[in-house]
């Protein structure tokens, strides 16, 4: 057998191994969460408020808190990301300015999430005096996932062949019309993809929100912008800290399962929205 064939085979098997490893990790993780978590799930668990620091009762306010923050986050990020992407793609023509913009976006993406938390604590809670507020949490999460959305939207707008822009311009359309009728449908599509990735990340984040947006117990549905909420990831954290109590530990698994389920739910609804947009896409 010649060496080329051996190398070929080795390489193929190495990639296969990597793939299997990836699949096993995922199955193991999901399997454990479902296995351990399903024991805690019940109608009461999903509809009752927390009692005795999470060891008993349910997680209804954690669920509503997380959903409220995530939806607000999406609403804040989406238009800003789309605007940034359009500006970067259609108006920013100076190569140096483009470079600076890209560097800024990538740096924002590289900031660890706990730094966002500390920034929120200092800027909003201490300097602006907002107190612990779910809305501030949403703003911070929006800042955190902004680069992901911008990059996805930018890539999809930028991948539209320039002949579409030129054809539309040649029909006497203004730049504004070209952007809204030709580029935006595709940009929205990309921004939704970014939103899926961003939201899946934001909904599970603990560090950025634990100082500024959430309280660990005794919280209900907020009636103003400046009230704290409870959220699923911070609830998991507080339950894990009481791991010696088997009831609390089981509820931690149950909460994890609900969190994973929410991520999947958001991803699926995002995919559905994207399919609807795809019809009129280039």
């Amino acid at each position: 057998m010649n060496s080329r064939k051996i190398i070929n085979g080795l390489f193929m098997n190495a990639t296969r191994l990597a793939f299997i490893f990836c699949a096993v990790v995922l199955v193991f993780l999901f399997g454990t969460i479902i296995w351990k978590g399903s024991a805690a799930i019940s109608i009461e668990f999903l509809t009752q408020p927390t009692e005795s620091f999470g060891a008993s009762g349910g997680i209804v306010y954690q669920i509503t808190g997380s959903i409220l923050m995530i939806i607000t986050t999406a609403l804040i990020t989406f238009p800003i990301a789309l605007g940034t992407a359009i500006y970067r793609s259609e108006y920013l023509k100076n190569p140096r300015a483009q470079n600076i913009a890209d560097t800024l976006i990538f740096s924002l993406n590289g900031i660890p999430s706990v730094i966002f938390g500390i920034f929120g604590l200092i800027f909003f809670v201490n300097i602006l005096g907002t107190g612990v507020s779910w809305f501030v949490g949403s703003i911070i999460l929006a800042m955190m996932i902004l680069p992901t959305l911008v990059l996805c939207a930018y890539q999809s707008i930028n991948s539209i062949p320039s002949i579409y822009r030129e054809s539309a311009l040649a029909l006497g359309m203004t730049k504004w019309k070209v952007i809204t009728t030709v580029l935006l449908p595709k940009g929205v599509n990309g921004a939704i993809t970014g939103l899926l990735i961003g939201i899946a990340r934001a909904i599970g984040e603990t560090a950025p929100i634990m100082f500024i947006a959430t309280a660990f117990s005794g919280v209900q549905f907020p009636s103003t912008l400046l009230q704290p909420v409870s959220a699923l990831p911070t609830h998991i954290l507080s339950l894990a800290q009481q791991a010696t109590n088997p009831a609390a530990l089981q509820n931690a698994w149950g909460t994890s399962l609900v969190l994973v389920f929410l991520v999947i739910l958001f991803s699926l609804s995002g995919l559905l929205v994207r399919l609807r947009f795809k019809k009129n896409n280039i």
């Binding site: 062949p161 579409y164 539309a168 040649a170 029909l171 006497g172 359309m173 203004t174 280039i282």
Partner: protein, 271 residues
């Protein structure tokens, strides 16, 4: 103003039969990122004629006609000297509304580019943004311009189908219909048949001869036979310079410049 342009015309030695130029290009040079693409172009485009710009690829034909409707404006590093007048007004003046200019000077590109919409929506794509129309008026427009672009017979039964379902040749005719619907005065065509089969190419050539009754046409091609079939005037370009221009008869029977004669025979030019 008019007096001036007439004296200019009389001074010009190469142009003899061009009495009412719709487009007047004078001393026009273009560089992109400091590379000279066009050098000192002087050209007048007469009304209701087909002016064919021929020349090897890289000769600046596309850059020239893309400058006429200012589509090149957005090209990074684009710099120009000289001027282009459309109906005696400079198109580069500060107060010119570029969008309006492009309504008067339509353009069809090398590759057909239909929008991800139905056939009829594609015809209306440009016009719907400049005028509000009733449903009735819209269907009149769609039929009128699909007929003008010789596409009506083929698509009248499926106007609501996607534009992309058409063949490439049909798509290009759809692009022409879309441009005609804007009711421009000048149509610029940048090698519109180069990606089409011979049959579709002939259909478009035939259409051009029909359209010149109402429109002024500038047609870029590197196909000499095609130019022979449709051109009233020929402009031969090479390396960013106009080597020779004149009526089609003149150029094809007794071209003065040896480079032109060489190109017409060999389709090759070592400028």
């Amino acid at each position: 103003m008019i007096q001036e342009s007439f004296t200019e015309l009389k001074d010009s030695t190469t142009i003899t039969d061009c009495e009412f130029p719709v487009l007047n290009i004078s001393g026009f040079s273009v560089s992109i990122n400091k590379t000279n693409i066009l050098k000192d172009i002087d050209l007048q485009v007469p009304k209701n004629q087909i002016t064919c710009i021929i020349g090897p690829s890289g000769s600046g034909k596309s850059t020239l006609i893309r400058s006429i409707n200012r589509i090149n404006d957005d090209v990074v590093g684009f710099k120009k000297q000289g001027d282009i007048h459309f109906q005696n007004n400079s198109i580069f003046k500060k107060n010119v509304d570029v969008a309006n200019l492009r309504k008067d000077i339509g353009m069809v590109f090398q590759k057909p580019c239909v929008f991800p919409k139905s056939i009829s929506e594609n015809v209306l794509f440009g016009i719907q943004h400049s005028k509000k129309q009733s449903k009735q008026e819209k269907s009149v427009i769609v039929e009128k311009y699909l007929r003008a672009s010789a596409l009506w017979e083929e698509v009248s039964q499926r106007l609501d189908e996607k534009g992309s379902s058409l063949s490439i040749g049909q798509q290009q005719r759809l692009c022409i219909a879309r441009t005609l619907a804007m009711e421009p005065q000048v149509i610029l065509l940048d090698e519109p048949t180069s990606s089409l089969d011979p049959l579709s190419s002939r259909a478009i050539e035939k259409m051009m001869l029909e359209l010149k009754k109402e429109y002024t046409i500038v047609f870029v091609t590197h196909n000499i036979q095609q130019a022979k079939r449709i051109a009233d005037r020929i402009v031969f370009m090479c390396e960013g310079i106009i080597i020779e221009q004149g009526s089609a008869d003149e150029i094809f029977t007794k071209a003065k410049h040896p480079k032109t004669r060489g190109y017409l025979v060999d389709e090759y030019c070592d400028c």
